[in-house]
């Protein structure tokens, strides 16, 4: 499944390690929530980046103590219709100020890319090759956003304010 | 006419057909015995037991491009003519009933 980051298909800096399997000696690893919480020290003192796959039915607040050490958090869309990870993403970015890689996994399809970006995802484990290839094109679909999220884009309400001010400034 | 959208197990009580709606325009269609679809109920393949129904339905559902919402619907066979087997299928075949007076 192609990984999209920075708007294009790239290699994966992380290897997914199953519970019970041995950790590779170096390099980035993605482990389950269970493994992280069982023995975080072992993971963090390794030579290599640590990422966690966090289920969508568990509060992300539990991750807060580890966010500084985590290089990646992968959230899950078991079906594209299950939108819990959008809330998790926003909380991680906007409330807990997480700055590492935030990866969307599961049924990740083209028509949700814009929503995911706005929610704070910056890496996408895309289900279909054709969708991954269309990523850069797809994210240009919308230029107007009504509501604020952490993505820094100005909202329609505030763009209007700007236009109003610049109009009256010219008078 | 309990909505067949609630059908879980395939269980038929008499002769049945597979019906669906055509993807590009939503028109009512019936699965034929020649692996196609027709607007005409007369062209529909008849199934008479659960296994046949399951097979025909699976094949219909696999044609995701041509049809959507396929399900099994009852029919009545009167002297070799196929007729809809309940009010819902009657309405799908001949259109809305509005305008017919209610019997007092």
């Amino acid at each position: 499944m192609p990984l999209v980051k920075g708007g294009k298909i790239t290699g994966d800096a992380f290897v997914h390690v199953e519970d019970g399997a041995e950790l590779p000696p170096n390099g980035g690893v993605l482990v389950s929530a269970k493994r992280l919480l069982e023995n975080p020290e072992q993971l963090f003192k390794r030579d290599g980046k640590v990422g966690v796959i966090w289920p969508n039915n568990r509060d992300v607040e539990e991750l807060v103590p580890y966010l500084d050490g985590l290089a990646a958090v992968a959230l899950v869309f078991p079906s594209f219709r299950d939108g819990r990870a959008y809330s998790q993403a926003r909380l991680l970015r906007e409330r807990f100020l997480y700055r590492g890689e935030l990866r969307a996994t599961g049924q990740v399809l083209r028509d949700q890319f814009v929503f995911m970006l706005r929610a704070g995802f910056d890496a996408f484990d895309v289900k279909k090759q054709s969708d991954a290839e269309a990523f850069a094109q797809t994210v240009k679909r919308y230029s107007v956003f009504y509501q604020p999220t952490g993505d820094g884009r100005i909202t329609a309400l505030h763009r209007r304010m700007q236009l109003r001010h610049s109009e009256s400034a010219r008078l | 006419m309990t909505s067949p959208l609630e059908q879980k197990k395939i269980k038929i009580s008499g002769p049945s057909v597979v019906t669906a709606n055509r993807t590009w325009d939503g028109a009512v269609i019936y699965r034929t015995a020649r692996k196609g679809w027709s607007n005409e109920l007369a062209d529909a393949a008849i199934v008479r037991n659960s296994d046949e129904a399951r097979t025909l339905l699976a094949e219909s559902v696999a044609d995701d491009l041509g049809a959507i919402g396929a399900y099994i619907a009852p029919v009545e066979i009167n002297e070799d003519a196929i007729a809809p087997g309940n009010l819902r299928e009657q309405i799908r075949l001949s259109g809305v009933t509005i305008g017919l007076p209610i019997q007092a």
Partner: protein
């Protein structure tokens, strides 16, 4: 009327482009139906029995004449020449082809009409009082807040894949014409002791299999906090609403299972983290939205103009005036309800010709504005009283002047088994027969205000639970049978109706309704005791006895 600006239009156009691309990918097979279905639902495209159905949003029930004409155009060009106004102030077309939809959407986008989120597990049309902005005694125009909410909820990245659908309604009058208590979030606009605008917030109303009336979780949320508070509610719901069972996935179930105090606390805890953030609405922003609503330049007019005095001798005009014309907050003006419930007709339908005629009348007599009510009637909100006689003549000619507003033949009905793939029984023919039985205006007026609501299945799109008389179609052994309830109300005294007895077959429903009415006429204390009040006073028993005595 809210005026779309460049920003609003851009969004609608971008949406149309996206949908065009999605349809293309569906018809080429690149998208499976499983992947496409939620996308088309998010654009209001359903599959019904005979064809696709297209549901178009009419935000808070306000339309311009230009927009109404464009709806007529869509009816003619892409459908079969008529449309159906719904119990959520939307309009539906029943014979749409998927392949033509992007073009129909583009035609609508040109006049600022869209269908975003009229279906799917997202936030739906924010509905309001169809008399907003003109009702006497209204505290403030609720449509300003409806528009603020509409923008906030449109294509919200966090809340586009909720456990289930989510509906808002707002009222700003003492008498609730928006049925806020049967919505997921119901907002009652009012002012606090300091004279500041805010909202009583009710959560968890909804009908369907498990009907609930909304419960107040906060008596006053300041206007500036509306969006941050709503976001807190939505976030709690998005994370904790059930996703394992679609019949238990609405927020009403979450509120019920947690208990209202615990639910309110969860919302409060979440809200405390965000209340002063980016969603805080400052006065400037609210004023900007308010400034975009155009209000007519009303003239100074007499309350009793000559035209009205002269027309009073015409009993047909008078019958209509007394029934369909309502007081306006500005002297000399009136609100006119346009009945879409002609005798023998399907409730809430209008032909393309009628839409065009009404658009012209709106231009001439209502400053180009039309309203849509959840009772499936339309309204002209700014009619000068001196224009009433001329307006009536024209409405009558177009078949839009049946003087039955709020009477027994002003029936609310879902499309039912004639159209809808979820239905178990038909509803429209039941409504048609009832309008025929009670066609005589003297009879209808003798009975007085009586709301009949009909649903063809338990999803309750006809709002039967809150009808004075509610009729629910179910299926039993291949036959259509109907459960009858009485005593429901949708307004500020909202209540769920009670069953009067075993279900009755299709052919007997109209007889049963006649028996109920007969019982009421015999039991009422005074001629002006309404049906709903007689039921409240006496309960269901006396009605049950009379109806089932011979059945």
């Amino acid at each position: 009327m809210y005026a779309y600006d460049e920003i609003d239009r851009t969004l609608v156009n971008e949406r149309v482009s996206e949908f065009r691309d999605q349809v293309k990918r569906r018809l080429s097979g690149e998208l499976t139906e499983d992947e496409f279905k939620m996308l088309r639902l998010q654009n209001g495209v359903y599959l019904q029995l005979h064809a696709y159905m297209y549901r178009i949003a009419i935000p808070y029930g306000t339309l311009s004449s230009e927009q109404l004409r464009r709806l007529a155009h869509v009816a003619r060009k892409y459908d079969r020449g008529y449309g159906h106004f719904t119990t959520r102030q939307n309009i539906q077309f029943n014979w749409i082809k998927l392949a033509e939809l992007p073009d129909a959407m583009a035609d609508l986008a040109e006049v600022g009409i869209h269908s975003m989120q009229t279906s799917g597990n997202n936030t739906r049309n924010v509905t309001s009082d169809q008399w907003a902005g003109v009702a006497p005694g209204e505290i403030e125009d609720p449509r300003i807040w409806s528009e603020i909410l509409r923008q906030y909820t449109t294509l919200h990245p966090e809340f586009s894949f909720l456990p289930r659908k989510f509906k808002f309604a707002i009222t700003a009058s003492e008498h609730d014409r928006a049925a806020i208590k049967i919505h997921d979030i119901g907002l009652r606009l009012h002012k606090n002791a300091q004279g500041e605008t805010g909202f009583e917030v009710m959560v968890g109303g909804g009908l369907g299999r498990t009907p609930f009336l909304g419960k107040t979780i906060k008596p006053f949320v300041h206007g500036r906090d509306l969006l941050s508070y709503v976001e807190a509610i939505m976030r709690v719901y998005n994370q904790y609403g059930r996703r394992d069972n679609i019949y238990k996935a609405r927020i009403k179930i979450l509120v019920h299972e947690l208990g209202v105090e615990k639910f309110a606390q969860e919302v409060e805890d979440e809200w405390q983290q965000t209340r002063d953030g980016a969603l805080a609405l400052d006065d400037e922003v609210i004023e900007d939205i308010r400034s975009r609503f155009f209000y007519p330049a009303y003239e100074k007019l007499a309350h009793m103009p000559d035209e009205l005095k002269k027309a009073a001798h015409d009993p047909h005009f008078e019958a209509w005036r007394k029934n369909s014309v309502f007081p306006h907050k500005v002297q000399g003006y009136s609100i006119v309800t346009v009945s879409l419930k002609p005798v023998g007709g399907p409730p809430g339908d209008a032909t393309a010709e009628q839409m065009d005629a009404l658009a012209d009348l709106a231009d001439k007599y209502s400053f180009g504005e039309i309203r849509v009510g959840h009772e499936q009637n339309l309204a002209l909100p700014h009619v000068a009283r001196r224009d009433l006689p001329a307006l009536w003549k024209a409405l009558d000619k177009a078949g839009l002047a049946t003087p039955n507003v709020n009477l027994i033949s002003d029936i609310i009905a879902c499309p039912g088994l004639d159209y809808c793939s979820l239905a178990n029984a038909r509803s429209i023919p039941i409504a048609q027969e009832l309008t025929r039985r009670f066609a005589n205006p003297d009879t209808a007026n003798l009975i007085g205000r009586l709301h009949i609501n009909i649903s063809g299945c338990i999803n309750a799109c006809g709002h039967h639970h809150v009808g004075h008389i509610g009729i629910l179609g179910v299926e039993k052994n291949g036959e259509e049978v109907y459960q009858i309830t009485i005593g429901g109300r949708a307004d500020e005294h909202a209540a769920l109706g009670a069953l009067i007895g075993p279900a009755v077959p299709y052919a007997e429903v109209a007889d049963v309704i006649e028996d109920i009415v007969e019982a009421y006429l015999a039991l009422r204390e005074r001629p002006d005791e309404l049906f709903i009040d007689t039921v409240k006073r006496l309960g269901v028993e006396p009605f049950r006895e009379r109806v089932y005595a011979t059945r």
